[in-house]
Symmetry: C2
Subunit: 192 residues, 2 copies
Amino acid sequence: MKLDRQTIQLAAITLLNETGLETLSMRTLAKSLDVKAASLYFHFKNKDELMEGIAELISGRISQRLAKVKDCDFYQLAHILREELKRVNDSPKIFEITYPFTPNRTKLILLGMQLMQDLGVDQRHLTVAGNMGNNFVLSYVADEQYFARGTQRQMPAEFAAQFPSPIDLANPDEAFDYGLDIFIHGLQATTK
Amino acid sequence: MKLDRQTIQLAAITLLNETGLETLSMRTLAKSLDVKAASLYFHFKNKDELMEGIAELISGRISQRLAKVKDCDFYQLAHILREELKRVNDSPKIFEITYPFTPNRTKLILLGMQLMQDLGVDQRHLTVAGNMGNNFVLSYVADEQYFARGTQRQMPAEFAAQFPSPIDLANPDEAFDYGLDIFIHGLQATTK
DNA sequence: ACCTGAACACCGTTCAAGT
DNA sequence: ACCTGAACACCGTTCAAGT
């Protein structure tokens, strides 16, 4: 078996989409590649570095798609971000636990801050606004994947009673745009 | 040693504040209580239930403080939430991984939705708006605790160059209010 | 009722040894 | 250069046994 970092990362992503982050161990990953766990340590210093590689790989996909968009605005960035994150189960958790300043990821962060600046956010609040946008998309996808799993426990009855019926719920795509609108309009209202 | 759920939860919180979630195991927790790991399983079905108990305990503290506030608005809820979450290291992560509909936590969720409704959010978007508010506070505190840890790796130099100097950064309290303003103003702009 | 000893099936990681 | 066997120090969890 001829391994390399790419192959291992892609096998990990396959496993994530099959069974999720909880069951992804160096041992299960190795088994899926017909190799022993120790072999992986020739290609990655440790599990953290592997996770970092996965986040960086996803960031690369996003960068590639963004490169094809001219005059990219914040909506487009957010949409592409969401779409690519959704392609890998538990990707928000992976982004959360890994070091963010890898090359492709740094590019995304800089683009995000750039777009915030264009929207009129002042220098002092660039970081916090950027984090907020980032957290919004990550949390949104995390929630989507959590509900898609369908393995949650029930809501209590008293709670369900106060709730809008499923018919009255916004669909996930519309709801995402709704959240994005809140953020953008909030930025505009706060910067002028 | 006479154990009960409260004692165990408080010992766990102490351990969280000393060394964080990563090193909190049933075994280290038991050791801090001068007891064997197996003993904990008399009081909690498993580790998940213990974590759920911790989130519920924190939610109880928040509820207690909220009860003393008359005409509570969204700002006050957010502030109290942030303050109590900050008292327990890694609490955002714990809230993220546990079942949310425990008694005190359900009360908080219902209050949050209530306040969103008062702000004019329509029925269809109550859930998504509520999640957004919740995610904002949780992510904010998570980021705060991450930076407070001070163990992160460096930003790349090219990145740091583009960054506002520390003097020009908003302080954490002000930045929190700034984020909150974005959210509230965004809600208002979107609902009318 | 409440705690423990001892075990089971896992982890991530290391490292001498193989090819 | 690349992979493995075997071990180390951990996990969460169970359960018969002790008091």
